[in-house]
């Protein structure tokens, strides 16, 4: 029997996740392929530090959004709003951390997107991820504002779950990027 029509949000979001994963995979492949092949300039080992704090924040935000989802499912809109806000805050900390890392890399270490192959592939991959985090944060913020105005209710729980899938996806991508950039090839 067909999947019920209620599931179309989730199925649609899975389709989007597949398509986005295809895009990210290519950037990861390029990163791996060019690892160690730069002709000059700073190497990952010289300039990269593992971003422990920001990564923990981002991973925790998946937990907070899950708690938010569960709260809304049970009808507790206040608790939902609290954890939702926490998710945004953790996401923002992640972005600020990334921004600070980039500031240091550009102005202190002299690594830009045009410096060498490492620079190009690093900023592209991490940047593409950060872009997706930003888009997610915009969506999260809009929903949070709607919550403040009382527009989000228990009956919207399914839709919130679909949106949260996107956020979990962004997190999963960070698992891959973190491993590839900061551990495997550094």
């Amino acid at each position: 029997m067909p999947l019920s029509a209620n599931l179309r949000g989730k199925v649609g979001m899975w389709c989007l996740i597949i398509a986005e994963s295809a895009i990210f995979s290519i950037f990861v492949v390029a990163y791996l392929y060019y690892a160690g092949k730069s002709l000059s300039g700073p190497t990952p080992a010289q300039v990269l530090d593992v971003p422990y704090l920001t990564s923990i924040c981002l991973f925790s935000s998946s937990l907070t959004i899950l708690l938010a989802e569960k709260a809304l499912h049970r009808g507790n809109v206040k608790r939902f709003g609290f954890f939702w806000f926490l998710t945004i805050a953790l996401g923002v900390i992640f972005l600020i951390g990334t921004g600070r890392e980039w500031y240091r890399l550009i102005y202190k270490d002299g690594l830009t997107i045009s410096t060498n192959l490492f620079g190009t592939t690093f900023y592209s991959l991490v940047g593409l991820h950060a872009f997706h985090v930003t888009v997610g944060l915009i969506g999260l913020t809009i929903i949070w504002l709607l919550t403040l105005f009382g527009a989000v209710k228990q009956e919207h729980s399914e839709r919130i779950n679909v949106f949260a899938m996107y956020w979990h996806f962004v997190d999963a991508i960070w698992v891959v990027v973190l491993s590839v950039v900061y551990f495997i090839t550094r």
Partner: protein
């Protein structure tokens, strides 16, 4: 869920009633529509428009190449023509036509009222349309107007480093990148929609193994779009980074690789051609059974073959790169995977013939195009097998043999299936039959022209003529073949004009079709022609693959045998 349409929601009516409303209102309704049938027609019309434009580009090229040392167009213009021709045909003709068919027919065939995400559907169409407009803006934009710098001339697969800022000055390449990038988002949206619709909105009783093959093949097509467009998007973003942010993805001076562009492009490019051909298989799989008066031979095997084609197609891409100097192991692997894909494809051809076998074939124009499809696709597949062998490809890759091969697939296969589909479903969409006599003229002229052009095109390839050259010396011995090839274009053009005339004439003067003019068996024939806005007053409940056969033959229904 709020209604996206304004208060005066027009019904899809017979032509007479439409013309009494003011034109502005009619146009407005089409612009804001989220109805899958209208969007399907818009996709289709958009595709046909660009098919004609691409055809004009091809005709100019063939006129230039008809004789040696010709000076009809300069090399700069010729190079822009072949780039635009390829890009237009793949992205702005074939894909919209494919999406048009899917959009219109999938919900009807699964007994649904619309696609899963009607507004996303509209967004996808307008993004695709915008992409085409951006690309074609490059033709009219001169150096002054926002620096368009004229149309791109890097070939439709835009190999690096020809596309780097050093070799591709100005903005022409950027129009190629952005036009396709934008339409790519539209394609992903449509594929997402098709996939979700098929998985979630089938009517009760329609298990996956009771869906029409048309729906199955579009499912696999949608899956391929989701997986394959991403690599192209990624590669194009990388190219933009190279061109504008000083990146080095494909910058060979900085240690970058030109070959990696090829890998990324063809990881998209090969599945792309399956994205185009599976919907053609879909059409043929519906038309042949109806006109043979038998069910499709081997439904389950056809599904299995389609799915395996989908998977294998993701692993054959480097057969476009046999001349790049990969290791013998890599080359051998891709020979194997490419040859492997011939097996499920061949199975399908056999199954179509098996459907015809023992039938009572009615030769309406739609069926004529299907038989031509079978013969031509067979030949195309065999030249493909020849090219799959790397040593053969070392000689004939990048030559007119390859050009002949892929046009054989696209024109001899896909376009002919599309024509079959128009003759078959026009009555459902418009409510009138197309004229069979004009149809037969179209068929014969087009087939003769097609064979004149593309059969003989193999010969210059075998004689050493590479592709993408704006002229050639008389001493190479290619001239007479090129002339024949060019003459065939005239027949095809006339054939297509007759088809277009038929489409228009039949709209006004065609015989009324009724719900089911072909005595067919899938759900779309159960509703009116054209269908009402809501498709079905009551969602059907089905028990077999051919619900209308069951209705018409209650003494011998299909569900007894499935």
């Amino acid at each position: 869920m709020f209604d996206a349409q304004p208060m005066s929601r027009p019904m899809v009516t017979t032509p007479e009633r439409e013309s009494s409303r003011p034109l502005v209102q009619v146009l407005h309704d089409w612009m804001v529509t989220v109805d899958h049938k209208r969007l399907g027609l818009m996709y289709f019309s958009y595709g046909i428009l660009f098919l004609v434009i691409g055809g004009v580009e091809a005709s100019i090229m063939r006129a230039q190449l008809a004789v040696a040392n010709n000076h009809l167009v300069s090399p700069e213009v010729f190079n822009r023509l072949f780039t635009m021709h390829g890009t237009t045909m793949i992205f702005f003709a074939a894909m919209p036509i494919v999406f048009g068919f899917a959009n219109y027919l999938v919900p009807l065939m699964i007994g649904a009222r619309d696609m899963a995400f009607p507004r996303l559907n509209a967004w996808g169409f307008w993004m695709s349309a915008l992409g085409g407009i951006i690309l074609y803006f490059s033709f009219i934009g001169g150096f002054g107007l926002y620096g368009a710098g004229s149309a791109p001339d890097v070939g439709w697969f835009a190999y690096a480093p020809l596309t780097s800022p050093a070799f591709s000055v100005g903005h022409s390449t950027d129009y190629w990148i952005v036009g396709i990038l934008v339409s790519g988002f539209g394609s992903i949206a449509t594929a997402l929609n098709v996939m979700t619709t098929i998985l979630c909105l089938r009517c009760p009783g329609m298990k996956l193994n009771r869906m029409p093959l048309f729906v199955w093949m579009n499912t696999v097509m949608a899956a391929l779009v989701l997986v394959a467009i991403g690599p192209l998007t990624a590669a194009q973003l990388m190219l933009l980074i190279d061109r504008y942010l000083g990146g080095h993805f494909f910058d060979t001076q900085a240690g970058g690789s030109a070959v990696i562009w090829m890998h990324f492009f063809w990881i998209f490019g090969h599945p792309e051609v399956y994205i185009l051909v599976l919907p053609a298989f879909a059409i043929v799989s519906e038309v042949i059974p109806v006109f043979s008066r038998k069910p499709i031979f081997g439904y389950s095997i056809m599904v299995a073959a389609t799915v395996s084609i989908g998977f294998i197609s993701l692993g054959v891409w480097a057969h476009h790169m046999f001349t790049v100097g990969m290791t013998s192991y890599a080359n051998a692997f891709f020979v194997a995977s490419t040859a492997a894909i011939a097996v499920p494809t061949g199975i399908k051809i056999f199954n179509w013939v098996g459907t015809m076998w023992g039938g009572k074939i009615i030769y309406k124009v739609a069926m004529l195009f299907c038989v031509a499809f079978l013969c031509q696709f067979l030949i195309a597949g065999l030249t493909g097998i020849m090219l799959a062998s790397a040593p053969f490809d070392w000689q004939l890759g990048n030559s007119y043999f390859v050009v002949a091969h892929f046009h054989y697939v696209i024109l001899g296969g896909i376009v002919m299936a599309v024509f079959a589909g128009t003759y078959y479903w026009y009555p459902k969409v418009v409510g009138k039959m197309m004229n069979e006599t004009l149809g037969k003229w179209h068929f014969w002229l087009f087939v003769i022209g097609f064979h004149l052009t593309f059969d003989f095109m193999h010969v210059p390839g075998l004689l050493g003529m590479p592709r993408r050259i704006y002229t050639y010396e008389a001493s190479r011995g290619w001239e007479v073949w090129n002339l024949i090839v060019s003459i065939g274009v005239i027949f095809q053009a006339v054939g297509v004009l007759i088809w277009a005339a038929n489409v228009i004439w039949s709209y006004y003067k065609g015989e009324i079709a009724g719900n089911d003019p072909w005595d067919a068996w899938t759900l779309e024939w159960h509703t009116t022609s054209p269908p009402p806005d809501y498709n079905y007053a009551e969602i059907p409940v089905i028990r077999s693959r051919r619900p209308l056969w069951d209705l018409k033959h209650p003494e011998d229904p299909d569900w007894k045998y499935e």
